[in-house]
Subunit: 281 residues, 3 copies
Amino acid sequence: MYYRFVPHWPYYSPYVEGEWLSWRSAVESDGVSRLPEQRLSFVLVHGSWADAHFWDGVAAVLRSQGHTVHAPEYAGHGTDPNKNVTHAMITKSVVDYIMRLNLRDIVLVGHSFGGTVIQKVAEQIPDRIKRLVFWDAFVLKDGGSLADELPPPTRQGFEQLRAGSKDDTILLPFPLFRDLFVNTATLEQAKHFYTSVRPEPAKPLFEKLDLKVFYTLPTPKSYVYFYQDNVLPQGEGFGWNPHMSSRLGVFRLIVGDGDHFTDTRTRPAMLARKLYEAGRD
Amino acid sequence: MYYRFVPHWPYYSPYVEGEWLSWRSAVESDGVSRLPEQRLSFVLVHGSWADAHFWDGVAAVLRSQGHTVHAPEYAGHGTDPNKNVTHAMITKSVVDYIMRLNLRDIVLVGHSFGGTVIQKVAEQIPDRIKRLVFWDAFVLKDGGSLADELPPPTRQGFEQLRAGSKDDTILLPFPLFRDLFVNTATLEQAKHFYTSVRPEPAKPLFEKLDLKVFYTLPTPKSYVYFYQDNVLPQGEGFGWNPHMSSRLGVFRLIVGDGDHFTDTRTRPAMLARKLYEAGRD
Amino acid sequence: MYYRFVPHWPYYSPYVEGEWLSWRSAVESDGVSRLPEQRLSFVLVHGSWADAHFWDGVAAVLRSQGHTVHAPEYAGHGTDPNKNVTHAMITKSVVDYIMRLNLRDIVLVGHSFGGTVIQKVAEQIPDRIKRLVFWDAFVLKDGGSLADELPPPTRQGFEQLRAGSKDDTILLPFPLFRDLFVNTATLEQAKHFYTSVRPEPAKPLFEKLDLKVFYTLPTPKSYVYFYQDNVLPQGEGFGWNPHMSSRLGVFRLIVGDGDHFTDTRTRPAMLARKLYEAGRD
């Protein structure tokens, strides 16, 4: 099960051995232009107020590096006119996509609300998943909902926006989107981003999920945390890391300096690098 | 109120569209030498153990980029011989300065103790403020004092230093200043910095502030957090972010790698960039 | 006791004074190739699942910059065939080493479990220590053990691994090592690293330590925190910084972007720079 032990340390020095030198220079570079040492099969699951095009930039980078990338759309999003969807319907969209294309050994990535989706997908088709990667994503407790993870004022704000809609959706006001989702972007970038934001079906955000099976899965897990992501306050009982990440038990942590949305468009190569570091063996 | 929705995603690719390419390259550069896309009017409010010259470096950078910058001195600091001042006197200094120059649409920045000052200034002249920016600054609760936010041993140390002074000031010992305020500086830089540190009027640090009006203001707010700033322990009920920042409700978070004082002199362009990112629309 | 006050601020501008300009450029560079302004005498104490060769890369960098570096081996590690050791035996190894070479004015660095060792060494020979540097290291409370600082599932895992051994050691499974200790490394790097990992004597990890003397020592202290280090969850009652670091009282914080082990081999110059920033006066 484990790698064999070599009884004696090799007594190498990183200053004379070329192998170690090349390691160092590879890591100390900006790390975005190198070809990866392993080719992976990514399935990317977006979050709320987004659709599958959210991944266009990062998918293009990953494909240019030899990886296979799929970014399935799910119920209630993209061109789907029906906004009256359940979490189970969303999960089914992703499971059906993976089954239809007969994908195997996948690195299944979830962003934001997408974290709750990959939790449920993993319960249904664990044998097809090589590793789960949560990127600033919700990791719900068994029996919990996304709304449970929001600070009370945010939750109340969401409930008001929901109550004010005609079709049980939540429309994110621009000022909120600008300061919480794309805080590192310019105003022009923020406005451009916002043109693709559409009302989000509210119900799946408030559904309590049975996740008993998820918490029995031995699937390896990673968490990518961007430290300028402030969609949730980071600490004191809330937030991505360590609050929700630590529910994964043993997981691989990868940290970057981005925010919740901006880097998908402004630094897709940086984001692709972080997802690769999270997804490789 | 909101930006209009564009019904279809533009289906751009960051790899063929020049606009997105230029975004990416702009953000992926070091981000300090570019001219900003918006010109702002900054009013910079320093903290304790500092005076208005604290801002000399960053003000020079911001002005060179086309911004208007004011750095008012306040009661008990700079050349003011009177150290027997109250928080209200300090607030009045800043309000009077803004009124005298008839400044409008300002980005009001507070550093450290200066956070409590801009909280009170904002209560008095909210219509002149475009956005509040707290940089590793205290955000007090209604009825709270700065001293309330100090871990008990630090608070006791401050009380002893205060009791040992003849004029109710606190003289920061060099070893404390070196390790807590300028931890990333060289020893020579730390010593040079310390030549400008003078005893701080103690009373305003212990005054309880009525902040009921502040917590009703709809003014947009940002928080700049430097993660090597260790003036306060960062977590477990204390610290800048998220402990005090989250009191702002919805706020824009900008994170940098500096400490509490050093970067004003060693990396003013980096600091100016972060304040700009926090202050722009 | 303090540096003298200079009554007037020098009114320099960082844009006209060469001295300040050179500061800025020195700090804004990558900071790894410059010669340091001070020469230090380092004693480096490794942690669990490592031996003194852990420091080979960083020691070579520090020596090339004019520092003196010692990396003592301690009981139960390296070529010592006896794994039945106590924490006191480990402490004695380091104390004896320092006494035998008659080292003085040392910067004593502890990594991980090595933090508990330098706590005890400092109690015995405080007059030889200029500064204590904890790098992602345990800082135990008086009467506490390392195991007390582990989240319950990790502690239980350790107890199971311990119970399954024939000689009261803990053998770290490769998947755990790969995701928790070398999370930013490539798989090849992780495997190579793992060839030098040997079973760790378990007893010292569970011993309760009397640290009353440690908490009376006025020795200056620094904490180096790498924010991709996820050996322990970082927050909510656990972790390196601020959970254990804040036990040091006033300390100098230095933050880097590494993980628990990887940078010793891939970026020894970066690590050496951080240890220098933590260790200098």
